[in-house]
């Protein structure tokens, strides 16, 4: 394939890593999704008793010391710990060894919605109560959003292209799409990419709750995240990281790597409409899906599965449904669609990462994960959302949608590798 006269290389996925509210490896995560496992419960990471929303999808039992030295873990915010851990998992899964010969050809591109919010909040408190000279010298390097990418590169030794996308809840998908573009054009041979987030903190919950974005179904956390259901009342925050090893096809073949799937399309648009609300009718999201299909040379009838953004907010789910219809026409009614956020909660910048993992696994294994808690579909949500139980079906091509505050719309397209 060529574009603007440049010969584009094919790019495949050879490694997956995941730290999620339903499992701290890619295998546990995928098995959990197929089982319809709920990852939402009451908040334990901070005292949420004064908050309107007291539920979240926390990562459980994560031990950073399994992935890094004690000292390194101490000087790293949780969002960066998740990224380093998931990146190491993905590289091990890909059996990809970074050494002196290839280090400059391996890059890192990890997105996050916010960055080291916990550290920012803790140090702000110290600054105000105990004085500025009591703030940790690690305050800035721990809180800045690019540090997941920077620290991951340090820990894996990747000296190639390195960057960070900060496009709210689209950040993880933007990171994967941008890494795909770099590899297509030959700027690297492999990219460790995805998204990470750890924003289960008092300030994030206060802010999102004030914006009326969060579910307040505090007495029933297991059923709080219910995308496309008429009784949905907001999103439920999750945390974690999803990381892929993307590799230029010839490079992957030359080392006999296992290939999960091929990444074939990347579409990115902006609503240019409102800071938090999607544009009514979803034309921005529809264009992102259309651009991803065009990028890959696909038509709507090629699409088997869509991993929806599906946040469980009243506005997103009906608007995304309209956008899918706009992008796919009548074929929208034939496509399997699910929101895996129903199980993990919304990982903000991490969501594009773990949802790419889910989409790729669906393409590889011809199984689609469900949307749980879908009991009474909203009238405005009349497509096939794979309610409550996973399904075995051929998945030749799948899309993954991610939309973010600011009006960012991103769609990634994955195809079975042949």
């Amino acid at each position: 394939m060529t574009t603007l006269g440049i010969e584009l290389k094919r790019v495949v996925i050879t490694g997956l890593g995941a730290i999620t509210p339903i499992g701290n490896t890619q295998t546990e995560y995928w098995d959990g999704l197929l089982r319809g496992q709920n990852g939402i419960d009451r908040i334990t990471l901070f005292d949420a008793s004064r908050h309107d929303c007291r539920i979240a999808g926390e990562v459980k039992g994560f031990d950073p010391h399994a992935y890094m030295e004690r000292k390194d873990a101490k000087r790293m915010d949780r969002f960066a710990q998740f990224a380093v851990a998931a990146s190491k998992q993905a590289l091990a899964d890909a059996k990809f060894v970074i050494n002196d010969l290839n280090a400059e050809q391996v890059g890192t591109l990890i997105g996050t919605g916010i960055g080291g919010l916990k550290v920012m909040e803790d140090q702000q408190e110290i600054c105000l109560t105990r004085g500025p000279d009591r703030c940790s010298p690690f305050t800035v390097p721990m809180m800045i959003a690019n540090m997941a990418a920077g620290l991951t590169a340090i820990h894996i030794g990747a000296k190639g292209p390195n960057s960070c996308t900060v496009t709210a809840c689209a950040a993880g998908s933007n990171a994967i799409g941008d890494a795909f573009r770099l590899l297509q054009r030959g700027y690297a041979q492999a990219m460790v990419c995805g998204g990470t987030e750890a924003a289960i903190t008092p300030l994030a919950f206060a802010g999102f709750a004030s914006a009326k974005a969060l579910s307040t179904r505090n007495d029933d956390p297991a059923h709080a995240c219910r995308p496309f259901d008429r009784d949905r009342d907001g999103f439920v925050m999750g945390e974690g990281a999803g990381i892929l090893v993307l590799e230029e096809l010839e490079h992957a073949l030359s080392r006999g790597a296992h290939i999960y799937a091929e990444i074939v399309g990347y579409g990115m648009t902006c609503d240019a409409y409102h800071i938090t609300s999607p544009v009514p009718g979803g034309e921005g999201a529809a264009r992102a899906m259309q651009l991803a299909m065009k990028d890959a040379g696909l038509v709507p009838e090629d699409i088997s599965y869509i991993n929806a953004h599906g946040t469980s907010t009243p506005a997103n789910d009906s608007t995304e449904t309209a956008a899918i219809k706009k992008a796919l026409g009548d074929h929208a009614y034939n496509v399997a669609i699910s929101s895996t956020k129903s199980m993990t909660g919304h990982l903000l910048g991490g969501s594009g990462g773990i949802e790419a993992v889910a989409t790729i696994m669906a393409v590889e294994g011809d199984r689609v994960p469900p949307t749980i808690n879908l009991e009474h579909p909203d009238e405005a949500c009349d497509l096939d959302y794979i309610a409550n139980h996973s399904r075995e079906q051929p998945v030749e091509v799948a899309l993954s949608n991610s939309f973010g505050f600011g009006g960012h719309n991103v769609t990634l397209a994955f195809r079975k590798y042949r």
Binding site: E69, K71, K74, S136, P137, F138
Partner: protein
Amino acid sequence: MSQDDILQKVRKIVSEQLSVEETEVAPESSFANDLGADSLDTVELVMALEEEFDIEIPDEAAEGIGTVQAAVDYIKQKVAV
């Protein structure tokens, strides 16, 4: 506070701050060369010592504290005053 009390406290703090075993922290240990401290670790370590002994260590003085013994000596003359 005796010199030995100070040394034991300093060793404990250094061990916690730099994530090294207390047994590795000898009086002659250099923070940078023996215990792996970088410039940010050193700043954090000095802050922890200030809190523990309720003293102030000005930047110029901190720059001269390169070993465990140097820290103990500095703290000793500060707390004695």
